[in-house]
């Protein structure tokens, strides 16, 4: 192994593609996790980010034309479009996904996206395009509301494994 994996940055599911596909792609990516239900995300090379091989998973339910438009672009391109369309900072873009801004940097450079984030990216882009197409004066407010909605979805909950312990009466 020369330390550089020549693969598409796309995530894919072993159960959907199968080990044969890995062989066809000519990769030396370890496939020890060859379980039927395990997703293997081949390691990225930023310079390969424009490749469409690997056929990443995109959001279901998108209009066909939009799905096609989204799938024809790399994740890096889509992240760039999202940032440009929203004028969000790295930090704000990261909060749309509940990840660190360092992770968004990596995506922008063509790095792997988890399948669920890739799906979410497609959904967000569809929404952003819709907001911009409407062209209403409160566009900015709508984008910020979208950001706040996403942040709220990842707020702490009462079921968090490391929530604060219940407090008891002082005299207990």
């Amino acid at each position: 192994m020369n330390g550089v994996v020549e693969l598409s940055p796309r995530a894919f599911t072993l159960s959907a593609i199968g080990l044969t596909a890995l062989a066809l792609l000519g990769t030396s990516v370890p496939v020890a996790r060859a379980s039927e239900t395990v997703i293997v995300r081949p390691f990225f090379t930023p310079s390969d980010s424009s490749s469409s091989a690997g056929n990443g998973i995109l959001a279901g339910g998108l209009p066909e034309s939009e799905s096609a438009a989204v799938s024809s672009s790399s994740s890096a391109d889509l992240i760039a479009e999202l940032r440009t369309s929203t004028s969000f900072t790295w930090e704000q873009t990261a909060k749309l996904f509940g990840v660190s801004r360092r992770t968004v940097h990596l995506w922008a450079a063509g790095g792997n996206m988890a399948s669920q984030n890739e799906e979410h990216l497609a959904e967000l882009l569809r929404e952003v395009r819709s907001i911009r197409a409407a062209g209403t004066p409160d566009q900015r407010l709508q984008l910020l509301a979208m950001l706040d909605r996403e942040r709220a979805a990842r707020a702490s909950t009462d079921d968090d494994i490391n929530r604060p312990a219940s407090t008891y009466a002082a005299g207990a």
Partner: protein
């Protein structure tokens, strides 16, 4: 209790309750300090001091890998509290004030360390048995390299404060895991909003190559991306051993593992609450156990 024999004692102090409640030998106080001092708390919890004769167990305990045995003193080859043998003793059984032994925390930090160790033993989140084998390889890797500053990974790990693991839902298998690699603030260059990410070129994908590159890279954007790549490559090491993977419940317990890099000044509380520290928390040095 009219005579508060315990007002000078604190959590982590070592006493010899000879003959009280059938105990003999040295014991470390496990009760929280307020509960020791307050007369209205009727019991005090004590854990026996032990020396570990098994070389492997001793080595693991000295490296803070075994939460059952927090180190009380390094004297005599290492003396530990055995948190699996805690006894609860009525304070009223003490007819005189127990004298603290010379063992025990020497300052506030050591005292806090002991309290954290007790909390860890009882309060740490139990990662599902089926998921644990996925995490063991990266735990072992980090443990083995951390103390080897000659290795690239060992050097890079010196800047890692903590590694945490988060699941989308711990109660429903298979889980999607995120391995959070959290580094000291300032270790990674800040990337400007208009940085051109497309010009960084190929990044290495093999762990040693990533670490070696981090140590010599001078371009700030590329360096930042290498750090993020480190988290990805560590996540890729989360693969159960072949023997463990023979068990379908283990093999199918994890749907996906991704690595995510953060600085310790930007890791949000919401994620702290959803994640659990891997048992390799000697990383941050001054916060053992």
């Amino acid at each position: 209790m009219e005579n508060n024999h315990f007002r000078l004692l604190r959590q982590g102090h070592v006493i010899e309750p000879e003959g009280i409640a059938g105990l003999s030998g040295k014991f470390v106080i496990v009760s929280q300090s307020c509960d020791i001092v307050q007369p209205k708390r009727e019991f005090i919890q004590l854990a026996p001091l032990v020396q570990l004769l098994d070389e492997v167990v001793l080595r693991g305990a000295l490296k803070k890998e075994n939460p059952r045995f927090p180190l009380v003193t390094a004297a005599d080859g290492g003396v530990f509290a055995d948190l699996a043998q805690i006894a609860s003793v009525p304070k009223i059984d003490f007819t005189a004030a127990p004298t603290p032994h010379t063992y025990g925390p020497e300052d506030e930090r050591e005292a806090r360390d002991f309290g954290l160790a007790v909390g860890r033993w009882f309060g740490r989140f139990a990662v599902p048995d089926e998921v644990q084998p996925w995490l063991v390889p990266v735990q072992n890797l980090i443990r083995s390299k951390y103390e080897k500053p000659s290795s690239p990974l060992g050097q890079v790990l010196q800047r890692v404060v903590e590694v945490r693991v988060e699941a989308d839902d711990w109660s429903v298998l298979p889980v999607s895991l995120t391995l959070h690699v959290i580094v000291k603030a300032g270790s990674i260059p800040t990337v400007s909003e208009d940085a051109d990410m497309s010009s960084v070129g190929k990044l290495p994908s093999e762990l040693d190559a990533v670490c070696s590159a981090i140590l010599v890279e001078s371009d700030p954007v590329r360096l930042a991306l290498l750090w993020s790549t480190l988290a990805e490559t560590l996540a890729m090491r989360c693969v159960p051993r072949a023997k463990d993977a023979e068990d379908p419940s283990v093999r199918d317990a994890v749907r996906e593992i991704i690595g995510e890099l953060s600085s310790d000044d930007e890791f949000p509380l919401s994620k702290v609450r959803r994640s659990e520290q891997l048992d390799i928390d000697f990383l941050s040095g001054p916060t053992p156990y």
